[in-house]
């Protein structure tokens, strides 16, 4: 695979690509409500009646979209929605958690909807929890939040780094789906950060509550999400994703036997443990322990000074391969072995 040094397509640049993808997803979530507003203005044929602020939205969006569409009112419907569920050039895609919770809530299988979760499901079976690292709009904010924690630590404000049991999120998933079934409503949407982020951005920009005011403000979900940010900052780093997120739990379960996974090349490893420090999910790449939680975010690859990680097609992690061959403890072990063995 892509491991040759000096190559432009070096595997360690994947982390940058990931940030590009995360940023695009988040910016699209910000842009789509404005595009929607623009579409409604176009549909109303009432540019002259708009107040100045809305005229500004109209002008900016017209400038942004006019190279691509000639009929904004209808053609801009090609990309709609958010990561919870949306339509992309006629293809409807939904979060597998939405599919599971909706099936539980309505207690029947509505196949057209279940099929919208198929493509994300296939990707999850291959790439594991990749959604959490590569697409989730909440991850974009949570990782920035982690960086903020580093900044705060430098300023002398200590962020929390407690550890809990990772299996707790599976309980959240089970309880969430069960409660959805009991209540007959998709309750997991209320505690699932990407759904909240997508929804609240849309509500905040284009809904304006009851009063038909543009830029009307956020709802209850924003408060919940802000609380999770504080939780991550002061209690446990990336705590919500690690220990509480029901979607993360579902993706972890689906990605347990993912086909493509990161593995350590023991010959190249020097035991510096930077990978463990950088891992947002608190995993242990240094000891070959990725497990079902790994989201293939490639942060460990990007930080590794000796390029000791590679992508491998395998349904299992390697068992602990021992200390890295470039590290001190391996060298000492070798020396000891040489000393103890009779001359060869």
């Amino acid at each position: 695979m892509m491991t040759a040094k000096g190559n432009f397509f070096h595997i360690r640049h994947l982390n940058k690509l990931r940030w590009v993808v995360l940023s695009i997803v988040f910016l699209m979530l910000l842009l789509l409500p404005f595009i929607y507003l623009y579409q409604t203005y176009v549909a109303a044929h009432a540019y002259d009646l708009l107040p100045a602020s809305e005229k500004q939205i109209y002008n900016v969006m017209e400038k942004l979209t006019s190279p691509f569409v000639s009929d904004p009112e209808n053609q801009l419907d090609q990309i709609k929605g958010n990561t919870w569920s949306g339509t992309l050039f006629g293809l409807k895609l939904s979060d597998p958690l939405a599919v599971v919770s909706q099936a539980a809530a309505s207690q029947k299988f509505y196949w057209p909807f279940i099929l919208t979760g198929l493509i994300p499901l296939i990707f999850t079976l291959i790439l594991g929890r990749f959604y959490c690292g590569w697409i989730c709009p909440a991850t974009f904010l949570y990782e920035l939040n982690s960086n903020l924690a580093v900044l705060l630590n430098k300023m002398g404000i200590h962020s929390g780094n407690r550890r809990f049991d990772r299996r707790f999120k599976y309980l959240v998933l089970a309880v969430g789906v069960t409660l959805s079934a009991v209540a007959g409503a998709v309750l997991t949407a209320a505690i699932y950060p990407p759904a909240i982020v997508g929804r609240e951005i849309y509500y905040g920009i284009a809904q304006g509550g009851y009063s038909h005011v543009v830029l009307g403000g956020f709802g209850a979900g924003a408060v919940f999400f802000f609380t999770t940010l504080l939780f991550d900052l002061f209690v446990s780093r990336r705590g919500f994703c690690r220990y509480l997120c029901p979607g993360g739990a579902l993706y972890s379960l689906l990605g347990r036997y993912r086909v493509l996974r990161i593995q350590r090349v023991v010959e190249e490893c020097n035991d510096c443990a930077k990978c463990n420090a950088v891992c947002e999910f608190g995993l242990d790449p240094l000891r070959d322990s990725f497990g079902q939680e790994c989201n293939n975010c490639t942060a460990c690859i990007a930080i590794c000074p000796t390029d000791a990680f590679e992508f491998k097609f395998s349904v299992k992690d390697k068992v602990f391969q021992g200390p890295g061959h470039l590290g001190r403890s391996y060298r000492r072990g070798q020396e000891a072995r040489l000393m103890s063995e009779p001359d060869e």
Binding site: G81, V186, H212
Partner: protein
């Protein structure tokens, strides 16, 4: 609880609607009139499900929301078979019916033309709702009377308000 309608093509049983809707908000995001709103906290377990308040903005029956909905909660339905309710007119309040002037705004705005609402024979400007009404609520939006003598009721309640405001209050709950 506010007076609300579900968007066109919604499941008849509101509990089934709530359990089928995942709250993705895409129906609202394609609505060209911005008539689709979403329940927030005050909606209880209806939170994040869509509604239309015809007194603010009625539905224009463009059908985009039904096309885009990923679930069965909004199923594509032909325009004439949509059933969001039926318009109901309070003849003790409507301006022409109480001889307080001429109006006809509701008839003029109706997207279904003569099938849904028309004038009572030989009684100019006195609006009468017909069976073809699908309950889009545009007449409610346009009605100039502050008390809204026209509103959308469920189909079995008929097209003439019998108990005036009391009946409406029942519908509000």
């Amino acid at each position: 609880m506010r007076w609300h309608l579900r968007p066109p093509g919604a499941l008849k049983d509101d509990l089934a609607f709530v359990s089928a809707c995942i709250g993705c908000g895409v129906c609202g995001e394609v609505c060209p009139t911005r008539c689709i709103k979403f329940y927030t906290r005050e909606g209880g377990n209806r939170i994040n499900t869509p509604y239309i308040d015809p007194s603010v903005k009625g539905c224009i029956l463009c059908g985009k929301c039904m096309e885009v909905c990923p679930t069965e909660s909004l199923t594509p339905t032909p325009k004439e078979e949509i059933d969001m309710g039926i318009a109901q007119i309070d003849r003790s309040a409507c301006y022409p019916w109480v001889d307080q002037g001429i109006c006809g705004a509701c008839v003029a705005v109706c997207p279904l033309g003569g099938k849904a609402i028309g004038f009572d024979f030989a009684n100019f400007y006195k609006p009468v709702v017909k069976e073809g009404c699908v309950g889009c609520g545009q007449c409610v939006e346009v009605c100039p009377h502050p008390g809204l003598p026209v509103w959308i009721a469920s189909r079995e309640e008929g097209t003439i308000a019998r108990h005036g405001a009391g009946q409406r209050r029942k519908w509000l709950q």
